[in-house]
């Protein structure tokens, strides 16, 4: 069948909606990965937990707002577990996340009523967003994204938020300034996974089902969104950006990722190679800033970071 531009254009809204929802997931991941400098693998599990809790509550007749709030709460609990495994039991960050993720597999199965998969049809229930109506999906997910960016912008300017940022930046200094880094780590993990679970709940509604394996590979997509967003943002300005803009570009990264997927599908790229394609895109996004800073060409504008007067 001939490839026509019009079909790419009509696929765009779906790609945008999916991109924003995953961008929200990446926002959650940003808190642990970039702010706290903690590699949190819990997200593969908490994403599915969010989806499972949302779907089961909707199927149970609860209003969709309550279902989404419950999903967030479940995610917060997931983050708490990883945090406690790390701070109280001294388990390394990556391992703590993996342990929670593994345990969540069984828990998610239980939540789904011991089934691997539960459908929630947009024809039967009032959902916040659905693949059926991409325009509404973009609007709803966009509103959630904006609300979250606003919340984070405020939160990381509070004393608690500032303490979390300091913990990620320099844990030793933070301890010397009286910050209980065990507490800040747990709080950050809880908030992060709460947001990831929220995005899982939105995704489950969007795709019309929750599946116990829906979170598999979530961390890869989240990281891809963050990194692609940063690469794009550097095209706009070389100086470091204000926090709210950085968060916005995380969403942009998610959208970019799904646009690229949409184009790949539209070009009839052999779908067996889709994952390889993803890996190549993320590798390119990671490499671009490194290659730039390595080039020994003339004419850099400033001395870059570190240029300072000596007092």
């Amino acid at each position: 069948m001939a490839i026509r531009l019009s079909s790419l254009i009509s696929a765009l809204p779906g790609c945008l909606a999916q991109g924003i929802v995953w961008g929200i997931m990446a926002l959650g991941l940003f808190i642990t990965y970039r702010v706290l400098e903690f590699s949190d693998l819990t997200v593969d599990g908490s994403f599915a937990t969010g989806g499972a809790v949302t779907v089961m509550m909707i199927l149970g007749g609860k209003p969709v707002w309550l279902a989404v709030a419950a999903a967030m709460l479940a995610g917060i609990l997931c983050g708490l577990v990883t945090g406690l495994l790390h701070t109280k039991l001294g388990i390394a960050p990556i391992l703590a996340g993996i342990l929670t993720q593994i345990g969540l597999y069984s828990i998610n199965l239980h939540i789904l009523g011991n089934k691997a998969n539960q459908a929630v049809s947009v024809d039967k229930y009032r959902l916040l967003l659905s693949l059926r109506h991409p325009g509404t999906a973009i609007l709803v997910s966009g509103l959630f994204a904006a609300a979250l960016i606003g919340f984070f912008y405020w939160f990381f300017g509070t004393e608690m938020g500032s303490a979390i940022r300091a913990t990620g930046c320099n844990p030793n200094m933070s301890k010397a300034q009286g910050i209980d880094i065990n507490r800040t780590i747990v709080v950050a993990l809880a908030i992060s996974n709460g947001v990831v679970a929220l995005s899982g709940g939105l995704m489950a509604q969007y795709q019309g089902f929750a599946d116990v394996s829906m979170g598999r590979g979530a961390i890869v997509i989240g990281l891809a969104a963050i990194i692609i967003g940063e690469v794009i943002s550097r095209a706009f300005t070389r100086e470091s950006m204000n926090f709210a803009l950085r968060l916005l570009f995380v969403i942009v990264g998610g959208i970019a990722y799904y646009l690229i997927m949409g184009v790949a599908l539209w070009l009839r790229l052999p779908t067996n190679d889709l994952k390889l394609f993803t890996a190549l895109i993320v590798a390119a996004a990671l490499a671009i800033p490194n290659l730039r800073s390595r080039s020994f060409g003339p004419g850099k504008k400033n001395g870059g970071k570190g240029a300072a007067d000596h007092g």
């Binding site: 009509s10 779906g14 691997a116 049809s121 693949l131 059926r132 795709q207 019309g208 779908t271």
Partner: protein
């Protein structure tokens, strides 16, 4: 660089805004059709079903039908992206191969006819209660089910293995189809007087150890149409055959790998049945009143393993070729 990105971003926003308003469907002339095939994962059974589907439709419509085949590589989220693409391409029919693909297609459109295949239980997959189920969905979805009559599968136990008492059911806990079949077969086996215990594994890494436990506690095993076991039957065989435990399987390929017998359907035939339904729909039939169809069944046995385990095979069974 900055300008390029700004321009691209604006174009994307603009097009999306426009696209939200438009339906994006092309008017195909009545005699050429485009069919989108969304397959969940690369897998022998699913591949066979897709092939059967294409062959049947091509036999009926020849050059008038073209296919867009996409594979989600096991990612349920990718199913949504693929179905979104089909809708925007304005395909005439969507074939969804496996449950998550079917669910994604159902979410993507309420108008375009959807035919599922390699789905065991439609009411479960689509959240239609058993009380309301009449054999057809009443919405734009129909298809074929790979469910071999489960009670008849249970009957194979007394036929082939008159001396067993404890039966273990082995399957992957992540597969909805397997859970469903396990439920039904367990009922049927209990009704026949057997004591039944379930043994589940979370993913392929645990197959060997769980099979070992199952063999230790049972006289014989039943394995439903489970994709994980279907992918690694040798692992199961290497544990069960030395332990002398016969396995009756939900599907021929699994039996060929590790079992003594199966009430089999051929996924290729299943795909062909789906293709024939597709041809009817493209000719004008109403998908919402079409009942879910099943493929014909055959009793098959694995000669080699039956010989190794000393199982006598009665008449009516065909050897797996």
């Amino acid at each position: 660089m900055k300008k390029a990105f700004t321009v691209i971003l604006c174009l994307v926003m603009l097009f999306s805004a426009v696209a939200c308003g438009s339906s994006g469907k092309d008017a195909h002339s009545k005699d050429t059709f485009v069919v989108g095939i969304c397959q969940l994962v690369q897998h022998e059974a699913l591949d066979a079903a897709t092939q059967g589907f294409k062959d049947a439709l091509t036999a009926k419509l020849g050059d008038k039908v073209t296919f867009i085949e996409q594979n989600a590589s096991g990612d349920s989220a990718t199913c949504s992206t693929i179905c979104n693409q089909f809708v925007s391409e304005g395909v005439d029919l969507i074939m969804a191969n496996a449950t998550p693909a079917l669910q994604a297609a159902a979410a993507a459109t309420g108008d375009i006819p959807i035919l599922g295949t390699s789905v065991t239980d439609y009411p479960t997959a689509l959240d239609i209660s058993e009380a309301d189920w009449t054999g057809h969905t009443g919405i734009n979805i129909s298809g074929t089910s790979d469910l071999a009559p489960l009670a008849e599968q249970a009957d194979m136990f007394p036929e082939l293995l008159p001396d067993v008492h404890n039966i273990g059911i082995l399957y992957c806990s992540a597969e909805a189809n397997s859970v469903y079949q396990a439920d039904v077969v367990e009922e049927a086996l209990k009704a026949l007087g057997y004591s039944v215990k379930r043994f589940t594994f979370a993913d392929s890494n645990d197959i060997a150890s769980v099979t070992a436990s199952a063999c230790a506690e049972s006289d014989a095993l039943y394995v439903p149409t489970d994709n994980a076991v279907a992918a690694y039957p040798e692992t199961v065989r290497n544990v069960a055959v030395p332990a002398g435990i016969p396995i009756i399987c939900g599907e021929e390929n699994i039996a060929a790998g590790c079992g003594i017998a199966a009430l089999t359907i051929s996924y290729y035939d299943l795909g062909m049945a789906t293709g024939e339904m597709a041809a009817e729909i493209l000719a004008g039939a109403d998908v919402s009143t079409m009942d879910i169809r099943k493929a014909p069944v055959t009793k098959k046995y694995n000669a080699e393993i039956c010989a190794e385990l000393g199982v006598t095979v009665p008449d009516g069974y065909v050897a797996i070729g």
